[in-house]
Symmetry: C2
Subunit: 156 residues, 2 copies
C-alpha cells in the first residue's frame, strides 16, 4: 500500500473537512489507501465516542463511512482517468446520499477497519460500498452515492 492517503493530496481549500481534512485541528483525520482493488481506512474511536458504554456511537460510524467513501470515490476517479491522485484539476467528491445498516453493536476499545468497494462509476457519480470491521467482524455496512464536487462548491 502507498503511504500517501488520498486526503493528503486534497488541495488546501478542500482539506478542512471535520471527518477527513488534514487541516482541521479538531477533526477525525480519516485517511484512505488502496489495497488492491479495495480501499482501506483505519480509525480508533475515542473513549467518549459511545452509544452506550462499551459500544461505538452510530453517528461516528456514519461519519467514517461518509469520509472513507468520498475519499474512495476520488481515488476511483483518478484511477479511472489514469491520473495520479492530486493531479490538476482536482477530483473531489461530496456525498449525495449516505446509507448505513448497523449489523450488530460495534465494540469500543480497538482500531476499526473500513474496506470500500467501487460499485459503480457513471459520469460524475460514483457509488461506494463500505464495510466497517471491529476485530475482523463486520459490524456495519454502508453505501454512499458520491457526486463530483461542482467547481463553485464552498464559495459562500
Amino acid at each position: 500500500m502507498s503511504d500517501k492517503a488520498i486526503q493528503d493530496s486534497y488541495p488546501e481549500n478542500l482539506a478542512h473537512c471535520y471527518g477527513c481534512g488534514r487541516l482541521n485541528a479538531q477533526g477525525h483525520h480519516v485517511r484512505t489507501f488502496w489495497d488492491g482493488d479495495e480501499t482501506v481506512s483505519r480509525f480508533t474511536p475515542q473513549p467518549w465516542h459511545i452509544a452506550v458504554p462499551g459500544f461505538v456511537y452510530g453517528g461516528l460510524i456514519a461519519s467514517l463511512v461518509d469520509c472513507h467513501s468520498t475519499g474512495s470515490a476520488a481515488m476511483a476517479a483518478y484511477r479511472a482517468a489514469g491520473r495520479a491522485p492530486g493531479s490538476e484539476p482536482p477530483l473531489r467528491f461530496v456525498t449525495g446520499s449516505l446509507h448505513v445498516d448497523y449489523l450488530k453493536p460495534t465494540p469500543l476499545g480497538g482500531e476499526l477497519t473500513l474496506r470500500g468497494r467501487i460499485k459503480e462509476i457513471k459520469g460524475r457519480k460514483i457509488v461506494i460500498e463500505s464495510t466497517v470491521y471491529a476485530d475482523g467482524v463486520a459490524t456495519a455496512r454502508g453505501e454512499v452515492v458520491a457526486l463530483q464536487m461542482p467547481d463553485n462548491f464552498g464559495q459562500s
Copy 2:
C-alpha cells in the same frame, strides 16, 4: 412544547450517547421535543464542524438525524402506549439503519432545526423521517429504522 426533552428521561445507564446523552461531557447533547405530531430538535454546529469552509459536515448531519430519530422513536412508543416518557420499563431505541439524502449544502453559522415525522410503528420497529432545516430551508432529509433496544444491549 414541553420543556423536558425525551433524552432528559433516559435512564442513567443509557444516557452516555455521544450524540444525545446528557451524561457525555464531550457529546452533542441533542434534545428532542414534541411539537404537535412532529418532533423537533435544535442544534448549533461548532466552527470546526465543516465539510468545506462555510458549510456543515455531512457526518454531523447524519449524527443529528440519528439521535433526533431514535429519540423521536422513543417518544412515539411512549405516546402509542399511553405512557409518560421515562416511565418504567424504559422504551429506548437503537438505529437499525440510517439513510440521509443531502439536498443542498447546509450553511454554517446558525442554529439548525430537525423536524421528525412518525412514518410507521410496527411492533418493536419504528420508522422516522427527519428533515434538517437551515434558516427555514430543507438541506437534508433522513430516514431511520429504529429498533427497540434489546434488554441486554450494552451489557459487555
